[in-house]
Every structure is written in C-alpha cells, then in structure tokens.
Symmetry: C2
Subunit: 305 residues, 2 copies
C-alpha cells in the first residue's frame, strides 16, 4: 500500500540531480522553472483531478469541473506571482458521457482560461469505461516580476494570507473560487515577498511546505485566522481554517515592515491578514491569546490517507 504521496514525491526528487542552469526551479515549488537557453524562465505546473477525489460528477456540473481543473493550475501560477501564458488539458472521459456533457466540460475550461487571459492551446481527449480524470498543465512566465518561491522565508518574517479560510468543500467554493493571479502579482509588485504558496491542501500542510523548503519554523496566531462564514459555523472553526484545504488563497511571508505597509495601503481588494511569524528552528505551532501553544500538525488533504 502507498503510505503517502509525500513520501513517494520525496523519493522521486532524490532520483536525479537536475542541472540548476537548465532547471533553476526544481520540483518542490508550486511550479517548476526551466531556463530555455536565453529565453528566460518558463514556469510549468501539472495537476490531475479525479472524480471522487477532487470533485464528484454526481454533484458538480461538467462546467464546474472544467473550471476547477484550469483554476487549480492558475492558482499555482498565482503562488509564484507569475503571468499565465497558456494551458493544455487532457481528459479521460467516461464512455457513457454525452457530447453535450463533454462540451459543457470544455466550456468550463474556457471560463477559467478566458477570465485569466490564459488561452487553451491544446489537449488530448480519450474515452474509457472509468470515471472522469482531467489533467491541466499551465505555462507561465515572470513577465517583470521575479518568481516567488517557497524556500525564501526568513526568521522574523510576517506570515500573511489572502481572503478567508475553511469550509471550501462544504460550501462548494472549491468549484468556483477565483485564483489569486492578479492579487499575487499586485502584492509581489508592492512588497518584497520572501516565500509564497497557494493553500490547496490546507494551511497546516501548505505553511508546513514553506517551512520545510525554507528550513524555518512558524508561529500561527490562532485567534487571527480569517474564517469563511462556513468555517465559522462549523463544529471546529479553527480546524476548518487549518485543515479543510481547497481554499486556493495565498499564504506568503515578508518583512514585518512590508506587512505593515501592505495592511496600511493594500494593493488589492481582497482581505489581507497577518496570521503569524516565521521562527528560527523548525518548530511549527499555534499560539493562543492565553499564552498556550499547540503543535501545528499538517492535517490537510493528503490523497493517500
């Protein structure tokens, strides 16, 4: 049995040492970065989305599923503060789908592609006697703003998030969320971001990824997490904000001075919240107003569990 996708990915990353001149951003970020011989950095991300894992064809419409397939890749492009340039999509369609369903799925792909000026430039269509699988691969470029990686967080940094967290699966927001492409670039243009990730697996996991890649710890202020209306009314609002996942908001770190400036004069309409501090060492914990501390355990969505 597969123990976890994380341990498999860690193993895969150990198999080859990539030439940093050819691959300046190796696996471990939201996107890989290729240096195409004097053509600048080209960023690429690929995501496979599966019926019963990332969506359910019995409750989500084909158009929503198509939208989500491209939007998750756009969210990766946002996490690097990069400019999406094109997307290719491959689908394995259930053999009993109608042409109308397949067209609606395509319409969803185009909804996302159009909204973010990221043309659908190619793809692959196959049918099979199994549930829907859909893969999107997105290409982006820096276009004037240096790519923000996961590995630059520094002790003393402020930890910030966009929007509100939690309850995305329960509310259905995971099918309709707006990837923070423009917000990421506006924030990165206004402040010196040290690290950034999009919150797909849950803050506890994704902030943990920043810590892992940067070799730092984190203290998260439990009372300051911005909660969605759905999270607020859930049985455990804090756990919802930390672990539900599929928020597709941004988590980034910057100097406290930059954080203050972003909050004083926000470059974006979306809510920005200072939720914690990067610490030396590698401990990650939740800090409560009464001084109590709890370990921040990655409990976000991991598919193999």
């Amino acid at each position: 049995m597969l123990k976890s996708e994380t341990s498999l990915i860690a193993w895969i990353r150990q198999q080859r040492t990539l030439d940093p001149a050819a691959v300046p951003i190796p696996p471990g970020d939201d996107m890989a970065g290729l240096n195409l011989a004097g053509q600048g950095l080209v960023l690429v991300t690929t995501d496979i989305r599966l019926d019963g894992v990332h969506f359910r064809t019995d409750s989500a419409s084909p158009r929503q599923i198509g939208y989500k397939a491209v939007a998750v890749s756009l969210s990766d492009a946002a996490a690097m503060a990069s400019q999406p340039r094109g997307v290719v999509v491959a689908v394995a369609l259930p053999r009993d789908w109608s042409m109308e369903q397949a067209r609606e799925l395509t319409q969803g792909l185009l909804d996302a592609a159009d909204a973010y000026d990221c043309p659908l430039v190619g793809g692959d269509v196959t049918s099979w006697g199994q549930p829907l699988a859909i893969n999107a691969t997105l290409i982006s470029t820096e276009s004037g703003i240096a790519a923000v990686r996961r590995n630059g967080a520094k002790s003393g940094d402020a930890i910030m998030v966009t929007g509100e967290l939690g309850g995305s699966l329960a509310s259905g927001r995971h099918l309709t969320f707006p990837p923070r492409v423009r917000e990421a670039r506006a924030i990165a243009a206004a402040a010196n971001l040290h690290a950034m990730i999009d919150i797909s697996d849950g803050l506890s996991t994704d902030l943990g990824n920043i810590c892992d890649e940067s070799g730092v710890g984190a203290s998260v202020y439990a009372d300051r997490l911005p909660l969605t209306a759905t999270a607020k009314t859930s049985a455990d609002p804090l756990a919802a904000a930390l672990n539900d996942g599929e928020d597709f908001e941004l988590c980034f770190t910057c100097s406290p001075e930059d954080a203050e400036r972003l909050l004083r004069d926000p470059p974006v309409a979306v809510r920005l919240t200072w939720i914690g501090a990067v610490t030396a060492g590698c401990e990650r914990f939740l800090a409560f107003p009464d001084g109590r501390r709890e370990p921040l355990v990655p409990r976000g969505f991991e598919h193999f569990r």
Copy 2:
C-alpha cells in the same frame, strides 16, 4: 454517447480564435507553439494514457508504462523536429498499488527522460480507487531548427516514413519504441521538410491529418510500405501497416529532389522509405502496382469507436 474524439476536438477548436502573435502554432499540430514575449517559440504537448486503452497493467510492467507515457510525448516533440527541454508527469495511481510499483513506474519515466536529455521537472501524484491514468506534458524548443508543422505539405511532394510499420501492439513494441527525436532533427537539418507527423494512430489516420491540415491529397504506393516482421506475418500486412497505429515512426513530406538526396545520403541510421506522393485536391488513395486504386480510409486507432 460520444461519437468520436475527432468531432469533439473539432468543436473545441471552433470555440476560440487564438491570437497568432501569442499562439503561432494553434491546436491541430503535434504540439502547440506559444510565443512568450520575445522568448522565442515554446512548444508544448500533453497526452493522457489509460489502463485498458493505451496499455494494460495486467501485461505491461509499471516501468514499461512509465517509459511509454514519456516516450509518446517525446514522439510528439520529434514530429515537430523540436528539442525536448523538460517533462512534467501527473499520475492517478490505483489505491492498491504498492510503493514499489509506484517507484518502478517512476523509473520508467526516468528511463525515457534520461535517454533523451529531457529532465523530469515536476509532477502530481494522487491515488484513487480506479485504474491507472498517467499524463505527460512535454516542453520543447526549436533550438536552431524551425518547427515542422502538419500544414505545409505541397502537391508533388514525396511522402516519406522512418522505420517499419504495423504490429506494434501485437509485438509489444508500443511499450519500448525509441521516439525519433534525434532522427527528426537530423532529417530536418538535411532537407527542407514541408510537413511532418508521428504515426501514433496509424498511417491512414495520421497521413490523413497532414492532408486535412495542408488541404492536399495523397497517393500511397501500396507495395512500398515498409513492414515490420510482425506485420509481414499478420493476416493482412497492408492493413496492419496502415491502421495498427502506435508505430511512433515519422511521416514527412518534402520535394522529390530532397527525398532523393535523403535516400542517397541518409543523415540517419533508421530506414527511410519513399511511400507516396502528395496530390492536388483532397483525395487520398492507395495505388497498387497493377494500376488499381483504393480509397485510403482513416481506420487508425480512435478511442471513442
């Protein structure tokens, strides 16, 4: 019911007009070409491969399946005479797979990536309670040789193929074939290729794609098709060469003068065969030595049938 992937793809292509400055090579070729703002042409192809459709996990090893997943994308890069630069792979693993099987699959990806200097730079791993699905997306560049498209075939051109055709599924070659990446670039450097495609769906279908995109017809010399040993001993060798598919050889067109030169002084070790002529109009037919002609009907592999 989905009638065919071809009609769905045709419909998708009608939905948006892409800016030719941003997308110089739109859908319809082996790869799409993006112009990344002064960074030259970046080519991209994506292919999803499915258990029971493109391979069978009960007969192919995980390592063979991994190799094939990347090799089919490398074959697309060959079809454009482009230089592979990096590949990303997303897998939906059956939940009952062992870590060992997942590692063997990865080893197969790396076998292909290593053999063609095309680093595996990223990916996505998810497990689900369904059969294996694996998607590869490959990025390539022109790197000194202009991309060869499908749409440049001219009446009077020679039609050429590399290697031998037919029987790939029966012989197992579809799991071990060498994508013709270096051969394509060597041939394109030695001659002015007007159109090229890799033979994945079968010559009858893929040559038909060149004809469709170029607005031309074709006459294929039935007695000159190069046959694999497996095709020669099959019930209908000619049909095997035309329709079996998964040959992953190259089919290209060039002037008869260039064809003669390529045959006289071959730039590659692989066999080259002059199998027909591009004709005006749009008729495609098989020409037999006795003067008989038969329509060349696309009977290659189409997944929805």
